[in-house]
Symmetry: C2
Subunit: 247 residues, 2 copies
């Protein structure tokens, strides 16, 4: 049996950096999802393997906390493991390290598995009985569980976009990380000069598809935190909470 | 002295694929630029090395021909070399191969080097005398030199976008590949189902910056070819020619 924790190394190329010469949040999310995908595949539960059994993984929630973003030309190590499996959800955690083994962040993701015909969630322990053997109960992901993100009402939309070719991924719907890119576009460059995103939570509520006209509603909380709701007419597609910290 | 031709391997992750399960054109461009950047750095002419001498590379033109896009989970090999150095420009070529050494495409890029203070082009052979030693006169890039791309006039704009955080790169202007992403968003998904982009030419004419409101003007030529002009008011920022081929 393979180790419970997988460890994957990524190199920070110039084209994954923003103007501060650091990797962006969407890029770190992509690296995490990539690590998750390889980890699952190596253990028999990858996208391609479960699609042969007529199932697909669906990302439901993601929380990420970063204390220091990796810079241009540096290496990022992503560790990932299964924290928990319940009837309809599995929690997968991440630890991010620099090449000197300094921990620079954590993340927790919550996944459902759907039946590709009915599009309904399947009973994970029943359909993937071996998955529980990979639960690592000893490895700690010390970040707080995501607090509920309330809908944003009564404000005018801050921005909007139409879903185009470059938003659509291999699963034929909007890529989960592309939503995050669009959400970050609400902020001007000064925000990223003076502060960095310390914690980001996102909950996926519906499937955005090609041609959808989406609007972003922003609600500023106290203490450098805001909620952004991505809506198709009155329906929330995804909702996120962003917490900034001064540099 | 290092070899004239550099060879770099890339893995096609799911998040770099479009809905056809192939790597996208912008991704292949990013891989090429990344290979170019490492190749130049290893030979002493990288972005960081020449910035210490107060210069920067500026991409002026790029032509790319692809006969077959690499698919999900496959490897792409990118070869790159210097084809030519003139007073104000250097030509860098690319050959793309699959893991069985089958050639699946070529590209040619034209670069100026600017002085970071004056923003004017520098005399390349004078300021970087060793660069000519890396010219590979024997390696052939068989694709045609870019034909002039005329401006697009007298048509209504097809689309537009405002330059946001995720468009801006490490050089603090719009990323050269992000322009290509926006240009491809003009097409609907059906175009990518029935056809693929066989040749793409782009000429960069001015620098787009944060907050710019850009408009895309499309002119359909004969034979599945079109020109798209990205303009800031009446000024062309970049102009491209796209040639499609049936699958």
């Amino acid at each position: 049996m393979l180790s419970k924790v997988g460890s994957f190394k990524f190199h920070i190329e110039s084209y994954v950096c923003d103007f501060t010469e650091k990797a962006t949040l969407p890029v770190i999310c992509n690296f995490g999802l990539d690590a998750a995908s390889i980890h699952a595949q190596q253990r028999g539960y990858g996208f391609e393997q479960i699609s042969q059994k007529n199932m697909a993984w669906v990302l439901s929630r993601l929380s990420i906390e970063i204390s220091e973003y990796p810079g241009y030309n540096q290496e990022l190590i992503v560790e990932t493991w299964v924290e928990n499996v319940t009837r309809f959800f599995t929690q997968r955690c991440f630890r991010f390290l620099d090449p000197n083994d300094k921990v620079i962040g954590y993340a927790r993701s919550i996944w459902a598995a759907i039946d590709l015909q009915t599009r309904r969630p399947v009973d994970i322990p029943e359909r993937m009985p071996g998955l529980v053997d990979y639960i690592d109960a000893d490895k700690i992901c010390p970040i707080e569980v995501m607090a509920k993100i309330p809908p944003v009402e009564d404000v005018v939309p801050d921005m909007g976009y139409t879903v185009r070719y470059s938003d659509i991924d291999i699963n034929k719907h909007i890529n989960s990380v592309k939503y995050i890119e669009h959400v970050l576009n609400v902020f001007d460059l000064n925000s990223f000069k003076e502060k960095f995103i310390h914690r980001f939570d996102i909950v996926y509520l519906a499937e955005g598809i090609f041609g959808n006209k989406l609007k972003l509603y922003k609600h500023i909380d106290v203490d450098d935190t805001c909620i952004i709701d991505t809506k198709r007419e009155n329906e929330s597609i995804c909702r996120c909470r962003i917490s900034w910290k001064s540099i």
